[in-house]
């Protein structure tokens, strides 16, 4: 019996909900527009602030974002790193993968020729405190510095002999292997495509000029 009146009363019953939906939607979008620039900058800074650690002599204000299609067909953003003089110093690529406990997110620094690893930084991890979380320490990260990119890295438990061997952290072999595995996969996927964006030539000029433009755009 209540069918017909119910459907006619629908707006009458739900006007408050619809009004609130409009109001809240508008309010949220306003908050978003007010804060999004700041949040984006926070996110950007997270990567940019560690670029000088990853590639020696880099000037973070001169870093350019480059879109690259990896071997697996997915588009990725990598960073072309320049020094303050505008000379190409290397590359920074983000990578992530399953660690011992949870996702590990890292940044890998490469030299300009993509032949050796220039540095490593761990952005996020939840490895075991007191064991696996030492992957964030400088001691472990430096073990990657200067390693070649042409051969996959191998984790060993005693002193490394070959130059592609990485000494594992005591009691955290799996965490160490996870990190080197992430590095290996990222390099296998991106090494080729990045090399094709050869440093030098006209392309670099375009890229070199873009940071200034982008800075202007994202500024508040």
């Amino acid at each position: 019996m209540a069918e017909a009146p119910k459907s006619r009363n629908f707006i009458g019953q739900a006007w408050l909900v619809i009004l609130l939906a409009l109001l809240y939607g508008g309010a949220l979008a306003t908050v978003h527009t007010a804060l999004s620039a700041r949040i984006a900058e926070n996110k950007r800074n997270e990567t940019y602030s560690v670029i000088p650690i990853l590639v020696e002599g880099a000037d973070q204000s001169m870093t350019a974002e480059v879109s690259v299609e990896g071997q697996n067909g997915k588009e990725l953003t990598v960073y072309r790193v320049l020094d303050s003089g505008g000379h190409h110093r290397g590359w920074v690529l983000p990578a992530a993968g399953q660690g011992f406990a949870d996702q590990i997110e890292i940044l890998i620094g490469l030299d300009a020729e993509v032949s050796t690893i220039a540095g490593l930084y761990v952005l996020g991890q939840k490895e075991t405190p007191g064991l696996g979380d030492y992957i964030t320490g400088e001691g472990f990260r430096n073990r990657f510095r200067g390693k070649p990119t042409d051969r996959p890295l191998v984790v060993v438990k005693s002193d490394p002999k070959a130059n592609n061997e990485i000494l594992a952290l005591t009691g955290a072999t799996i965490s160490s292997e996870s990190v080197s595995g992430i590095v290996n996969r990222a390099l296998a996927n991106l090494k080729g495509p990045i090399r094709q964006l050869a440093p030098g030539g006209g392309e670099e000029q375009d890229e070199a000029s873009s940071p200034a433009d982008r800075q202007g755009e994202t500024g508040p």
Binding site: Q13, A14, L16, V17, L20, A21, Y24, A27, L28, V31, H32, L35, R38, I39, N42, K43, E46, G124, T128, P129, G130, L131
Partner: protein
């Protein structure tokens, strides 16, 4: 209605200890367990929850005359979700590190039973003054509970409190305390302690009679 609704002062005091949302009502367990591995994230969480709870209480209390019984839960949820989003964005803009550490637990405030139950019990029935008092009281109670658990976990697990070292150098950090099992164990034991004190007091009061 045989009983009058509690006054603002009663609501305020109730929230802190007699009706403590965590220890007495077992509401909002998810953040209580997840973000208490240190004092800083715990306090940020308490702040975010307080922000949402107080503002949602005010908002609901202001429109309590317009609420239709069968749509009220929907309105509560919409209001809470909006304020949670605002809190989340504010954290991301001004406390980025913290926001990253808290991760999904800030949006999960939406499904914290504590807030919806306060909207239902208090804000949808009483005026703004009482609703604010209730929100502040409950938030303080929630903060107190988070602080107690975080204190135990951070001191035992990392040897620090609010990031400041408090344990002697030879203290072996109990790694388990900052891991998930530590959260369950600490809360279980603290709950038992609170219950023990309560029972002891009830027994005493009973004897005095």
């Amino acid at each position: 209605m045989t009983r009058g609704e509690p006054t603002a002062l009663e609501r305020f005091i109730n929230g802190i200890l007699p009706e403590n949302p965590v220890y007495r009502q077992l509401l909002g367990m998810c953040p209580v367990l997840a973000v208490t591995n240190g004092m800083k994230p715990a306090m940020t969480m308490a702040g975010a929850t307080a922000f949402v709870l107080i503002l949602a209480n005010i908002m609901i209390s202001l429109m309590r005359g317009l609420l239709k019984p069968h749509l009220r839960i929907l309105v509560f949820t919409l209001t809470i979700a909006t304020f949670v989003t605002i809190a989340d964005r504010l954290l991301a803009a001004y406390m980025y590190e913290m926001s990253k550490q808290l991760g999904p637990y800030v949006p999960l405030i939406i499904v914290n039973c504590l807030i919806i139950s306060r909207c239902e019990i208090c804000a949808s029935k009483q005026d703004v003054r009482v609703a604010v008092a209730d929100g502040v009281g409950m938030s303080l109670g929630f903060a107190l509970a988070l602080a107690s658990i975080a204190t135990v976990r951070e001191i035992l697990g990392s040897g620090t409190w609010l990031g400041l070292p408090v344990m002697p150098g030879f203290w072996p950090n109990w790694g388990i305390m900052v891991l998930p099992p530590g959260a369950f164990l600490t809360l279980g034991l603290l709950l038992g302690m609170v219950e023990w004190v309560n029972q002891a007091r009830a027994k005493k009061a009973g004897k005095r009679e």
